[in-house]
Symmetry: D4
Subunit: 255 residues, 8 copies
């Protein structure tokens, strides 16, 4: 339940088209819905403007599907991340229109009018290498689900700098750039040296040895000399996409 | 030299009020100015919309003052961070209007018209404890230098949650929130659970033992469950303030 | 053998209902029983008031079942943790009344009179997320085995703070609270800011990237600003449940 | 302001001995008092049964003294930890009865009737070595301030086990034991193997090389085989003393 | 080839029972034998008094078997560690008398006269828990192979200290004690506080969470307060057994 | 496309034997070729003198084979590292002459004239143990692909120093030595103490316990007392071979 | 009080030359002597054959001097380590014959007959560099105090291997070798490859950067390929010297 | 003593201009010279082509000066690194022509003919920032002492990429590039993406927070995607300069 649907419900009670009792049933779970093993935060949509997203890892397929279904029922849209095929199958049995992206392990359902889905422009997702694409796709799908139009630039790492400089125009007109990189993770710092917009850095666990599962890339990004960068957890494409959407939306709201 | 001053110079050449030779002298150092021990990036103002900021630590007072003076001469404003009193003294001898903030070790000069300094609204800086204030002030001064209006909320850490919840209105209307915290660093995650705007998390080195000079706080912030957070380096108030300004400015530009 | 059964045995010898020889056989293994690969600490029940609990991991099913059976024979109750299905099967062949909990990998047998099982009130187990439940259940089962009545509150993490604040009454009347959380692990610190009782913090290995298998949550908990917290090892639900029982029992004894 | 003083105030308003306006002035700062650089949590005494304690490190002497004075005025008692001599001097100028303990850097004021200070019995503080005494004293003073009677056993580390076993009687009758140790930190685990009460383990930064400033001791304590232990941050004598008081008080309340 | 077999060969050449050419063939590989993928150090037996031991891990079964066979041929005995069943099978095909110990993954062949195998007395191997036995057995087998008589004491960890104190006599008469422990690893330090002989500490990877695969135990042992301890790598039973044999042999040589 | 093939193409356009349009097709992808999931850096051959090498790990077999084929088509040679059998199979279907080395997971194709393949002399690859050979082979194959003649010395680790000293002549005449070692990683430092040429140190992940997957070896090498060493990432045989070729080539160019 | 002095006292009681009361006074403190801040372990001399050694760091000069004096009075000898000049001065005021070694911060008193001081032969102390000498001296002085004759070999690190090989004879005849090294710490492993006796490795904190205060050297030593090594804490010359004496004494006892 | 001076001496003995006895005195210390606290490796000049360099840190000024003087006497040149002013003063008293560089803490003496000092061309030293210059200077001075001509490029870090790209010509013609950088340490990877020569990466300890004293930069460099890089220890300008000289010399020798 988001702001507009809450207002519509209250107007309907005032107008008598919905009884108080009917409204009570819908509002009863507003703060959260207790499934015993989970308390779904249906109030989040009001607080944050976006519904809760289901982190599927370490949940059973049944748990994930139940939660996904409850959110979809109240929000007209729902999203799950780190969904294994078993999660996806269980979800699709309950919400058949949900669409699964196996590479990024994201599953999305959006039952709203297409017009409601049209998004904020200006989110760019860049990846350093081919192996970083699954994380980059998680970021892109999250930003899309959150109402943004996304441009992707893959394999533009600093080992061949001309591949990045070649995209200067796309970069310079972005509202916010998500830069995804493993190994040494130098991409976000180099991009931030070139552009005037916020850069969200996503370290990935791609690499070996002293890469330490993404820690080397993370440390690079936190220590970048170029200002205008902030960093999310290793492989956290979801967090980057969500934050990018908040930034892009803020811009839009003021426009 | 920023966009408007560059345009003004070129117009003047076209109109004959400035000779090509005079313009050449001014433009000669545009890409960067080589002092031998430093190459000042005068082009940054055009690329990023904000001039280079001088990181004074491990520079000699003379080096810092020289660089500060060159930037001030071309940009009408300049800022230094991590400035020891000796740096501040050397800078003030050359740029007497510069103002030094000893707690946060920031030094600022802004020679522009007051109207040019008026800023983007909506930046909130919150600190978990009293000891985090120097870093929070660095963030606030940087955002202010970068053209933002800043509200500060100090000592609102989660050990007494009502102190934070009491400020719900200020938090809910912010464009972007900088949350500064040491020890366990829980503040940004709790704030992000409450608000619909981007949260920039700044871990501080306040604490002892397993705090590991801010690493505990950093790890907390990177692993926060609430979405909409990104993190900068430990004690990097400057980076947070700069990024907040980019976000706030972006919003303003579209408005 | 616990205090009361030891006293009963000695009384029986005095009264002649048990011969000295018969008593000798029972008392021979009192300090410990040497199985070659293990020395079962039967004296622990006298020292600590609770029998030794079998840590099954890295023991063969035969070893685990042997030890479990010996304890059950002398104590009328026994418990195993980190029991794989193979351990559980081997144990149930020897102690058929033992009950296996696969989610938390705990196996329990209690052959005492129900009245002897009635417990100390006031232990609350709270978990941050759904994925933390296995560890929380290990804590709850251990506290129950150790003679406590346990209330559980699952998925009350700080990303939706109202879910926790909604349970303020349960929290405020607890004797001791076990707070289980992965990811950034902020739950125990926030609870400790609200309640007047001891809080035992259990970090879990839930998370990814810089979560470092629970180290981020652990560091958060060790650095919590709110006083009244202590921490056990990552995923150590057993240790938390056992300690909670010691605290609750101490309270009861004085009553 | 604690529970009894709040009730007394409300009774006085009811009885007309205090005007509503006078009560308003006293209650105005109840939730917290905003000094700008600090928000003193005067409500904590109601929530936790103990007033806020001032962590002096990285506060200026003036800040620390101001906060200490405000708490003392409302609570009739106050305590500061990690107080340098300069902090102590500033505090004593405002609260002359405050008593400074330089070894443990604790400063305490208790203006209540002696009868109100009489404490819960059964807290034992044991240290592994002579060098651990400052941290042990911080724990003992905190527990004393929190209303407990404390017994200390210093230099009973495991290198000479008979020194510890010699104290078996004191250990076995404790309500709660605080075990403080640096170097390898084995003391708490050995004690927990012997006693039936909760053990709070405090690692200290005493040691060198791979001691890593207390991390070795901390890891030992978190991994102790003997159940019934929980751990606080390195050198956090305050946290251990506070938690011990909560445990001892709980026992007392039920008695 | 060891000292006595070398002397015998040279005597035989002097006496004419072996031709110089025949001796050349035998001595040709004395410094080392180059198999291309390995250079077997046949000279080690002369330098160190014990033949090279084959570390099987990450070698192919064929490589391991080849090397084992070559050593056995020249030394009348051979030993392999970390041997998977496939390694053992390949070795036994070539050296059928070799004996495989699957728990400790050790494989041993000794073709010498029984009298030559009789060993130095006084090596004691103690383990903290049942799960540490595989590493303890590797140590015991290595010391046995190196010519020592070994006594084992398993599951005598500090959680039930009386199990260890009960063995005081065995401990006090040892020439050297190998103490094997995982989890918090406190056993070696407690033993070293009791006995007058050298203690070799072996941390094991048994444990979880902050045990960090044996690092917690290692750090405990390196920081032990009781003097007379030195430490080998995590799970390195071989290294401990070998060193114990050197110490016991040295004692014997002087006797 | 390398320097000579580019010059040949331009000459052909000048001479009219290739039309401008034909040249355009060939030059169109010169800076890089965008496959969507990868941007192949065909310009690298001009910049670095060697074509891009395909890092196969975490690429799909199809992606790896596509990229390999495109490089082979333009460069007459191609190489892939960390190629699983599935990668190798997919590549060989498209470039049948490619040769797969399963031990080192390297795949190589060189379609140039044998004379063009003749190499720079003087690269020596030494390994500490048998288990380090896969990494050493990756280094040797890379140096060979990059145009060098390579000598290998395996199992010359410092536990039997005479095996290394025996090869003094080979070592002393090398142009550059690649020293590959796991466990404690002492080999490169000892070699650098003996020879007058650059030493490239490659730590491997061979070992256990505190070896930490190669970190112990890496730290040894970075801290070596003997000058003339530099280090590459753990298990990075490719990087060492490539760098050795640059050094050997530089020498050759000047000759 | 050691074994012989205890026997003499008991004989004197039996013979009537000492009254039981006089003996009681001497024996009263036998298990330990409680100074409040310290419990001196006078029983250690009986258990371990050597008196307790005073670790002065973090003790006040008065505490250190008091403890030193009490041990000297009962044992006719005493030793302190990590003694700052202030410790040494306070000790010498009470035990004027004590001798201070400022480089290694060791202070020693031996009031026994010279014949009682004659030692076990065969302890060799080798250091990698000049900067490691203070730690090496602590080891040598400890072994000397513990009754050994010590040979020192300084600056024989592996960067110039011939300096070490030149001392082959001294090394080959040692009973036990203490090898002290910082930086990469390769010395003990190389020595253990050459000699047939136990090697005690002492990492030092000499170095910089990734030396991490001795951790790099420690890791090297724990992972050494050559068998026959065990390791003590960083900079723990005392522990190495003490252990060497135990080994050498054991040999002597059997002789 | 280097190759040519050794040959000259032997020729002189042959020709009778130097007596065998005179030669003996000079050759006596050839392998090394034992000062007790140091064994100067005079043979190194023959082995490595460059004399031993004195690492002054943790040596007393007298020790450093003695060693410096002995090397200077035999080699006609000498160099010290990490020399504090006290070291420099002591050295200059003995070798007055030595020249001290306080910024980089290097001291150099070269008494050879200018022609003998002429160097190998092509070494470029680049630094990311102004604060990295002391380390860069240590590298440049070492390479110069080792016989190279050095070009320096300071403050060309990736935050303003055009400052680096502007120097493309200098970079592309180098024989070997030393890239010095702190903070995130991205400079070497970006340079290696552009140039065809070997790149030696030097991380510096410049930075704060997660920079961890240079570890972040080190990890970046070890994980760089661009091939052709190897890394030395943090702040090890000496090691980089020495290695660069070996590479440049090798090239020269072959020319």
């Amino acid at each position: 339940m988001n702001e507009s649907s809450l207002r519509a419900l209250l107007d309907a009670v005032r107008d008598g088209t919905v009884t108080a009792e009917q409204a009570f049933v819908q509002l009863h779970d507003l703060p959260y819905q207790n499934l015993g093993y989970a308390r779904i935060d249906h109030h989040r949509s009001l607080r944050k403007g976006l519904p809760e997203v289901v982190f599927c890892e370490r949940k059973t397929p049944e748990q994930a599907a139940n939660i996904f279904e409850q959110i979809a029922a109240r929000e007209e849209r729902a999203m799950g991340t780190r969904a294994a095929p078993a999660h996806a199958q269980a979800i699709c049995e309950r919400v058949p229109q949900a669409q699964y992206h196996p590479l990024s392990r994201v599953i999305v359902f959006d039952g709203r009018e297409p017009s409601a889905q049209s998004g904020h422009p200006g989110v760019v997702v860049a990846s350093g290498g081919t192996a970083d694409i699954p994380v980059a796709e998680e970021a892109a799908l999250t930003a899309g689900f959150s109402g943004c139009q996304v441009t992707t630039l893959y394999d533009v790492g600093v080992a061949g700098l001309h591949r990045l400089l070649d995209q200067a125009e796309v970069l310079s007109t972005a509202s916010v750039i998500i830069a995804v990189a493993g190994m040494e993770g130098a991409l976000p710092g180099v991009i931030a040296g070139l552009v005037p917009c916020p850069v969200i850095a996503v370290p990935t666990s791609i690499g070996y040895g002293t890469g330490l599962g993404g820690v080397a890339a993370l440390m690079n990004m936190l220590n970048a000399c170029a200002p205008g960068i902030a960093v999310v957890n290793i492989d956290n494409g979801f967090g980057a996409g969500y934050l990018a959407a908040l930034i892009a939306r803020k811009a839009e709201q003021l426009a």
